[in-house]
Symmetry: C2
């Protein structure tokens, strides 16, 4: 395919991860190597930065900051949760995106995100084609949830699990030491619909005593009766219980078990915002089993734990970013780079490609065989799948104050060229 010269724009979207900046770094460094791409722009806060023409010139950032992205958690360019409507319903946002792209001669658009982001990228690519604006659009997968279709796993997942497994193991040691008193601990894992995270961190249970002793995921209908029986049985056997539960546990009618609380907000994608599973389970344990119970809810800390992140995950995040650029420069567009597991022992992974639309509309759930028959812990199949993704630790820099040093973009704003301001959410 013909060479396409022009500028590149990169944006990050959705919930941050520990390694999303590694993908950003891979994209930037590969763009800088390419002879075709002139400037690399970052959109501040994902697609919002495009719509509001809030762009910054990454080419002007210092090499130290760009290298430092690989050891900096969360989205350095800023992220967002802004849902674009269907172009059929509302073309305004898409027209604006293309207007901004044209004004800044953006010919390469790299979007790091989950399935909503791939949907946006796909639609932008198609509309550009309709108006004959030559634009190459590539996606890089990102989500701690590991629920993207078409890819073996997603960057962000390995580091999420490495940290959550470690903190669950450590919380378990606390429970074990105090089992004459605090006998039960609930750890709440992220995971709205898919149980990948909780199941993944189940690997911390290396032997009978190691936490977690029980694992619950949204894919398997949660029954209070079975849970109470599980906790009683584990307490009888071990004298202590550590439970790892997804925030999105549902009962057999598909209702979130926390729904009775009523106060659930929804985010702008219409996703139910959860919380409270740990507290719900704690109350069940105290009231129905009669054991003293605590809960730990690491919350957003679990998806940004660069201080103990997986090197494998970080390297793969970089790899998918760099590959997205290489593919685009060769003429590719409309695809997301996937991770292909080539072998498990020794673990080896490469990249593949999937149409953005296929990713946009897919969702990948935890296979039933990754959980045991009772639905309260993981199987060896799950363990074999997860463990290679946790290998190695990202080398971080620790400052003279004993705390990690993370970088920030200077974010020098690019002068607007469309001559218009834009009202979001029209």
């Amino acid at each position: 395919m013909a060479k396409l010269r022009g500028n590149a724009l990169v944006a990050q979207s959705g919930g941050p991860t520990t390694v999303i900046n590694s993908s950003l770094c891979g994209i930037i460094e590969e763009c800088l190597k390419s002879g075709d791409i002139e400037l690399v722009y970052g959109a501040h806060n994902g697609i919002i930065g495009v719509l509001t023409e809030d762009l910054f010139d990454i080419t002007k950032e210092s090499p130290e900051v760009i290298r430092g992205l690989r050891r900096t958690p969360s989205a350095a360019a800023g992220s967002c949760r802004y849902k674009l409507k269907n172009p059929q319903e509302n073309r305004r946002d898409y027209d604006r995106i293309l207007e901004v792209f044209k004004a800044h001669d953006i010919r390469y658009f790299f979007y790091i995100g989950g399935n909503d982001s791939m949907d946006t990228a796909d639609k932008v690519a198609k509309l550009a084609g309709e108006i004959d604006y030559e634009l190459r659009v590539m996606g890089a997968p990102k989500t701690i949830d590991n629920d993207l279709a078409e890819t073996d796993h997603t960057p962000g997942y390995g580091s999420e699990v490495k940290y959550l497994a470690t903190m669950t193991m450590e919380s378990g040691r606390d429970t074990e030491a105090l089992y004459t008193f605090d006998t039960c601990t609930i750890v709440e894992a992220m995971g709205r619909n898919a149980g990948w995270i909780a199941a993944g961190a189940g690997v911390a249970h290396r032997n009978t005593l190691d936490a977690p002793h029980l694992v619950y995921v949204p894919e398997i209908a949660f029954s209070i009766e079975r849970f109470v029986a599980d906790v009683k049985q584990t307490h009888k056997e071990l004298g202590m219980v550590v439970v790892l539960a997804s925030e999105g546990l549902k009962d057999d009618s598909g209702e979130y078990i926390t729904t009775q609380k009523g106060q659930l907000a929804r985010d702008s994608f219409g996703h139910v915002q959860l919380g409270g599973v740990a507290e719900t389970l704690k109350n069940i344990v105290e009231q129905e089993v009669g054991l003293k119970c605590r809960y730990n809810k690491p919350g957003t800390a679990q998806r940004n734990a660069m201080h103990f992140a997986s090197l494998t995950d970080s390297n793969e995040a970089y790899m998918v970013g760099a590959e997205a650029v290489r593919h685009a420069v060769k003429g590719g567009s409309g695809k997301m780079v996937t991770i292909v597991r080539e072998s498990n022992n020794p673990y080896r992974a490469g990249t593949g490609l999937a149409p953005l639309a296929a990713v946009a509309n897919g969702e990948k759930f935890l296979p039933r065989e990754f959980m045991n028959e009772a639905g309260n812990h993981i199987t060896d199949e799950c363990r074999d799948y997860v463990l290679p993704l946790l290998k190695g630790e990202v080398p971080i820099e620790v400052g003279p104050d004993g705390l990690p040093e993370y970088v920030r973009f200077e974010r020098r704003k690019v002068a607007p060229r469309t001559g218009k301001t834009y009202q979001l959410g029209g």
Copy 2:
């Protein structure tokens, strides 16, 4: 003083810490070096193990396990929260302790714990004196709360703060990336009565953008009105807010701000069990300020985070344990080893001694000058005090599965010799 030959008993008590096993290791290794101490017994679950004669022979544990204690969080010998009454009210427990000590020729008793433990140790020492049973009793300080009198700081505090500061910094990066959406994050720190932990982790705020942006401690009466104003002001300035709050925040009448929830259990020491400050503040932010808010509650994970623990803290924990033994072997008794800060720049610390009774009845609060006038963040004095305690990282072992490897005692039970069983809590 005359040589005293016999066995040693070591026990751990109260809430675990990341480095309490370093103190244990210091005690064990120093006992093994001593010519006077024959066997080293561990009491399983602190004083409960003494009362029930549930002892194990540490001398029989492998050297790898004993060395591994320095990189293993929580209390490897088991801990407890068992409150002994005053001997005047109930001498039964104390008589039993001395009965068990005599039966096993325990001449050295090392107790690692906080002020309740030092109280127990003190009373045991005094009663042994009354009945002319030669016993040397030494305490080693331990608490993440840093609220012990007589010592500059306590082992466990530095690692607690290093981790909490890091996870707060990382949570802050998440809020910063998503500030167009999740605009406020509350991080809940442990700390029932003293604000050392929350204030300590305030050091993560290295510059304007770095979390935490607001810090609240129990020593300063919490006002909802001021809190709402603080959050509004910070949001106006930064577009985001990360709040770090002690679990034990109290209003100006001294009531816990979570008390209205009513469901507070008390532990066996009569301490109020808290939780819920984060959720309380989140509700205030959403209702009174109108910002979307999340909360992270690391819970017991924060006091066991060996995967990112302070080497300074770990080394000092070892030092106080070893020094307790050296002092006892030289004839000392009835004292707790303290940490004396000899210089701050460069940081240098040694040990001192304090009477157990002085520690037992003291409680050390955060100095008012460690917080700013508004009572919503820390001062440079606080920073100077805290930072040296976070230096260095404990080298851990990571297994082939990418997760930390922690050790466990084999805990070979010593045959009982008193010929009696004992009913706790009589």
